[in-house]
Amino acid sequence: MSSVPQDLLYTKEHEWVRVLGEGGICVVGITDYAQSKLGDVVVIDLPKVGSKLAFMQTAATIESYKAVSDIYSPLTGEVKEVNPELSSNPGLVNAEPYAKGWLFKLAPSELGSERAKLLGPDSYANLIAGLS
């Protein structure tokens, strides 16, 4: 069973979002389900710090031995930081998808309206239960 933490929001495309504090910064990653389907993550192409992303715009690509996957930005906003560990250790996405395997942090500009478009943990758990 893939883990689905209760304190996160999700997209149908298997990204997760952690809203920090009052929502000034959000952390983005891919779910346990997504990493288990991809297999060993070996190359990650992250967005540039300072780039502006629109809701569900391609933000990154993740490659495993068998597949290339686009990662979408779950929120509109500006990229503030990317995970510096991933270039030398992309396997963190497999080992700790919700912790050390985070992808990027962004400052959301439309959190109030876009939050409702994201899935809660129960909805996301139902979604993947129907897939696997």
């Binding site: 297999g39 070996v42 190359v43 490659e63 031995y65 068998k66």
Partner: protein, 352 residues
């Protein structure tokens, strides 16, 4: 879509592996992780279910003559217990498939070829038999038979404990028959090891005892990354009927002193393109279909590729101008990303 075929060992690992469809078979792509399985084979031992390979039993007074005519490599020089890598060509010198001929007895052979060409190879052999009136009976091994590969530096000693036979007493590309199992010292990974062929239950028992001994079960994902690090071609992916053995650099394997199908198309000819490797200077997962450039000009297309788990750099295979020297600087266009690379003569990693 029709139901996928299952090997005789499928029930031993169903539910424990990520499965994919491979040439009509339901096969494991990985058990735990491609990388973990790859490194287990390089550093310890791994076992693969390769029962999907096409195995043709050929028996009769003209079995040797048939294979001499069907294959580009010499067959008559093989004694019982010898194996040989060969191609089977069409009339134009194109490779129908590559495979391994086992000489079981004087008038009895086993020909192991790829799963992807099963219908083509079976039809082709049957056509040669009837056209040449050879006294040879073809029997294709069914789903009750199985084949595994046990590979890695610890494969021989682990197998010895199970079989009571030491493959290290066999030369490379030799086999013995032990309790109805064909045990050969061969493989597709670059590591020492064995391949076993026999009934489903007999091979299945060895498979399970290997797992109990701590041997890593491996899927087709690691089989592909391992063979790519060695620069071994894959049937239907790198090798097709559009490719000649000269382009594969296989001249030394061909016996031009005999008559064989496709000989007239290749004898005395020189290849204008060669099967070579491409190595990037940074981590990348190279993929078949990517264009390769030199000085801004397209010089080839990758037929297959991956990231080398050992080198942590992109590796790929493809056909390049024969006069292009290994070491030449190249650029690989990977979905629009331009990667610096060099032309190499595989293997990408050196084994002792």
């Amino acid at each position: 879509m029709s139901r996928l075929r299952e090997t005789a060992l499928h029930h031993l690992y169903a539910g424990k592996a990520r499965m994919i469809e491979f040439n009509g078979w339901d096969m494991p792509v990985w058990f735990s992780s491609i990388e973990k399985e790859h490194l287990a084979v390089r550093n310890a031992a791994g076992v693969f279910d390769i029962s999907h390979m096409n195995r043709t039993d050929i028996e009769g007074a003209d079995a040797e003559k048939l294979l001499e005519y069907a294959c580009d490599a010499g067959i008559s020089g093989l004694g019982a217990g010898d194996m040989r890598y060969t191609h089977m060509l069409n009339e134009n010198g194109g490779i129908i498939d590559d495979g391994i001929v086992f000489r079981l007895e004087d008038e009895h052979f086993l020909f192991v070829t790829n799963a992807c060409t099963e219908t083509r190879v079976n039809d082709w052999l049957a056509r040669l038999v009837s056209a040449g009136n050879y006294r040879a009976k073809l029997r294709h091994e069914g789903p009750d038979r199985a084949m595994i590969a046990v590979q890695g530096p610890l494969a021989a000693q682990t197998l010895r404990a199970i079989l009571g036979a030491d493959i290290r007493e066999l030369g490379r590309f030799k086999f013995v028959i032990r309790d109805s199992l064909i045990v050969s010292r061969s493989g597709y990974t670059g590591e020492d090891g064995a391949e076993l062929i026999g009934s489903g239950p007999a091979v299945g028992e060895v498979f399970e005892r290997l797992l109990e001994s701590g041997v890593q079960p491996c899927g087709l994902g690691a089989r592909d990354t391992l063979r790519l690090e060695m620069g071994y071609p894959l049937g239907c992916v790198d090798v097709t009927e559009e490719v000649t053995p000269l382009e594969m650099g296989a001249e030394k394997l061909i016996d031009f002193s005999k008559d064989f199908v496709g000989k007239s198309a290749i004898v005395g000819k020189a290849a204008t393109r060669r099967f070579r490797g491409v190595l990037t200077d940074q981590p990348a997962v190279l993929r078949g279909g990517s264009e390769v450039l030199s000085g801004g000009r397209k010089v080839g297309v990758l037929t297959s590729g991956t990231l080398s788990p050992v080198l942590r750099r992109g590796i790929g295979m493809g056909f390049f101008p024969a006069n292009m020297q290994p070491g030449s600087e190249l650029t690989v266009n990977l979905r629009g990303r331009l990667l610096s690379a060099s032309l190499t003569k595989p293997p990408f990693i050196r084994k002792q």
